[in-house]
């Protein structure tokens, strides 16, 4: 059993060992062992050259990381949370994402931006935003969103080995959650391909598509409904961009019903994009009901527990949406 935190740690450790050009920088990643302890032990093992504590200068250190990538290194740039990446978002989009295209293929930027994304617990509005839709919007970026430990390890390793800018949206509430690790996942060359979704649970009545922590909620909802004879197919997107719409389409063509589940805000979100693409593709004709979105509430995240609980998608909200869609 390996927690998501340990999985990310393992993935980074293995890649640091494998390739000298890989290094990690960010606030508190070295001597503090990581604000959320994700980089625990790495500074002790690799030292100041490879694990670099930065001042509180997101725009500066993100730009430094991008410059280092342009000059041939393979940086992992940690944002303590992706909320702080807004300070640096120009470097992520304009300096990293667009450069390979603008240069006509001359200048690549092999960089990873990683950190916790989305809602946590009681951290309120400025620390709870989900950036999947914002980063997923931009051509030139790859954006991944791991759910469990295998996702976390396989995706961080693929991201580090990828020669493009990759945004890895982790989830703080998942860091401490343990999962079984297959023997495959224990290998030092275990990679999960970027751009491929995974069917976590087979089903026939309805397709649930999700990313990150809500995947777990979907599986819970599926378990509850299974007792009532409703079999949900649960898809773990794993990658936001490039989106694996084919896996979703194939599933919808089988189940005829679609629900998207995400932690972020509804307008212009991941679910909105999935629905638009489903309408444009072959799966539309197989829908027996309109596609439905389950999302975070359309408010800045409130602090009081009762308000926060009702601002994120809960299992009951997913079950309600499923029953509505299936007309039960």
């Amino acid at each position: 059993q390996v927690t998501v935190r340990e999985a990310i740690n393992q993935g980074m450790d293995e890649e640091l060992e494998r390739d000298e050009k890989v290094f990690l920088l960010g606030e508190e990643v070295a001597q503090y062992d990581g604000a959320y302890k994700v980089s625990r032990g790495l500074w002790k093992k690799y030292g100041d050259k490879r694990i670099i504590d930065t001042p509180i200068s997101e725009m500066g250190f993100a730009g430094i990381a991008v410059g280092a990538a342009m000059a041939g290194l393979r940086p992992i740039c940690e944002f303590m949370t992706f909320n702080f990446s807004m300070q640096a978002i120009d470097q992520v989009i304009n300096s990293a994402a667009k450069t390979y295209y603008m240069s006509g293929g001359l200048q690549s930027v092999p960089i990873v931006f990683r950190g916790p994304n989305g809602a946590s617990a009681g951290v309120a509005a400025q620390h709870s935003q989900c950036f999947a839709a914002w980063y997923g919007h931009c051509p030139g970026l790859k954006v991944v969103s791991p759910w469990n430990s295998e996702d976390a390890k396989g995706l961080i390793k693929s991201a580090i080995r990828d020669n493009n800018p990759v945004v890895v949206l982790e989830n703080e509430l998942m860091y401490g959650v343990p999962f079984e690790f297959s023997s495959e996942a224990q290998s030092k060359d275990f990679l999960i391909p970027i751009g491929k979704a995974k069917i976590e649970r087979q089903g026939t009545h309805i397709t649930l598509v999700s990313h990150s922590r809500p995947v777990g909620h979907c599986l819970e909802a599926a378990m509850v409904l299974s007792k009532e004879g409703i079999e949900c197919e649960v898809i773990n997107m794993r990658t936001i961009r490039p989106m694996d719409i084919e896996t979703i389409e194939a599933s919808v063509m089988k189940t005829n019903h679609l629900i998207t589940v995400e932690g972020g805000w509804p307008q212009f979100g991941v679910g909105a994009e999935i629905c638009a693409r489903i309408m444009e593709g072959p799966a539309f004709n197989f829908l027996d009901a309109p596609a439905v979105r389950v999302t975070g509430a359309d408010v800045p995240m409130p602090y009081a527990k009762i308000l926060e609980d009702n601002s994120v998608p809960q299992v009951k909200d997913i079950i309600f949406a499923i029953k509505k869609t299936l007309n039960i």
Binding site: I52, G60, F61, G63, I64, M70, A71, S95
Partner: protein, 391 residues
């Protein structure tokens, strides 16, 4: 007979020759091979010593710098013309007047060193190794452009040159990052990180200074002060216009950016400082742009015509080098004129190509989204329009 010979020699020595311009083969004893020139002493900040106050210029280097500066000048003027003829679109920021900066910087470093700058980049694109033809074709958006027409004026790249950056100040941290890579690899290379007087007020420049100092990155921060950030003069934008001191805890020097030799010596000095592991340094180049901020700015609403003409008359960098070389007999006026003719031809040929080469093929619109990734499809303006994307 002797009288005739004396007359002929005196005619040549006075610079008046009957021979056609292409045959100035008069005895090479009329040329000096080297000459020594004084350089204006640099104001120093947190430095005990600065660059030397004299320098030796060889005839060979002098001719090279002259040719390079003249090429940049003519190239920028050609870009002006092409823009007015609508062959170039969008933004076009010209650096005529600032030739001593790009040529002097290049002369002070090695080809294996690194350079990054702002959007006023055409001069450095050339000095770093891009041909005039590939620069002009990129400006006109043709497939022969150095970025295949995908980038335009602000996004030109070549080995060890990281553009061309459109966002003011973003190149500050990027350059510090390139310097970090140099230190990480232990290759004794440095990165020249240029930004303007306007960009000097960006917070991320201060962030880059801080981290470069903390980690002793081999980064030469160069503030190209041409006295105006777009239409805002330095006095109206900065509480302190001593840009060479704005690195605060970083040593700095102020350099006459109109003197190519002064820039060369200062750059050598600064690069050596960084190479020795002492950390970053700030260099302010005092220079001037003849054009407005960009092609859509006539450049005379916030400064006077007289000011511009004054600089041209007294401090033009090409004129300064020419006078030095002719007066010290490193070259004759005729041979410099010959170079002018050759440069003009090179620019004309390049412009001819740039205005007749084909545009990039539409099929390649989706290319170069990702590097080293299997081909995939990119969506066009509607769901039925698809472009293939190859890395």
């Amino acid at each position: 007979m002797r009288k005739m010979l004396a007359a002929a020699v005196s005619r040549v020595l006075s610079g008046v020759t009957q021979k056609p311009a292409s045959r100035v083969l008069v005895a090479s004893c009329n040329y000096s091979k080297v000459a020594t020139f004084p350089i204006k002493k640099c104001d120093l900040y947190r430095l005990e010593e600065g660059p030397p106050v004299t320098t030796v210029l060889t005839r060979e280097d002098g001719l090279k710098y002259y040719r390079m500066m003249q090429t940049v000048r003519r190239m920028e003027l050609k870009a002006d013309q092409l823009y007015k003829q609508k062959f170039i679109r969008g933004f076009c920021h010209l650096c005529d007047g600032q030739e001593a900066c790009c040529v002097g910087l290049e002369a002070g470093i090695n080809p294996t060193d690194h350079v990054i700058t702002s959007y006023r980049a055409h001069g450095l694109c050339y000095t770093r190794g891009l041909s005039v033809r590939s620069i002009l074709s990129e400006l006109t958006g043709r497939r022969g452009g150095c970025a295949k027409g995908k980038g335009g004026s602000m996004h030109m790249y070549v080995k060890n040159f990281y553009g061309g950056n459109g966002i003011v100040g973003a190149q500050g941290p990027l350059g510090a990052g390139v310097a970090l890579a140099c230190k990480y690899k232990g290759n004794k290379e440095v990165c020249l990180t240029l930004y303007g007087d306007g960009a000097a007020n960006q917070g991320q420049i201060a962030e880059a200074h801080n981290m470069a100092a903390l980690w002793k990155l081999p980064c030469v921060f160069i503030c190209e002060n041409n006295l105006y950030g777009m239409g805002t003069s330095v006095e109206r934008a900065a509480a302190s216009t001593d840009y060479y001191k704005r690195g605060h805890f970083l040593p700095g020097l102020k350099v006459d950016g109109m003197d190519v030799l002064g820039v060369r010596e200062a750059t050598k000095f600064a690069a050596d400082y960084c190479r020795s592991g002492k950390g970053p340094i700030v260099m302010e180049l005092q220079t001037y742009r003849y054009h407005g901020h960009s092609m859509s700015d006539p450049g005379i609403s916030y400064r006077s015509r007289e000011e511009v003409q004054n600089v041209r008359r007294k401090s033009d960098p090409i004129m300064l080098l020419k006078d030095r070389m002719v007066n010290s007999k490193l070259a004759t006026i005729e041979e410099l004129k010959e170079i002018d003719v050759e440069v003009r031809k090179e620019i004309e040929d390049a412009a001819q190509f740039a205005t007749t080469d084909t545009e990039p093929p539409l099929e390649e619109l989706g290319h170069h989204i990702y590097c080293d990734t299997p081909p995939f499809e990119v969506r066009g303006a509607n769901q039925w329009i698809k472009f293939k994307s190859l890395g």
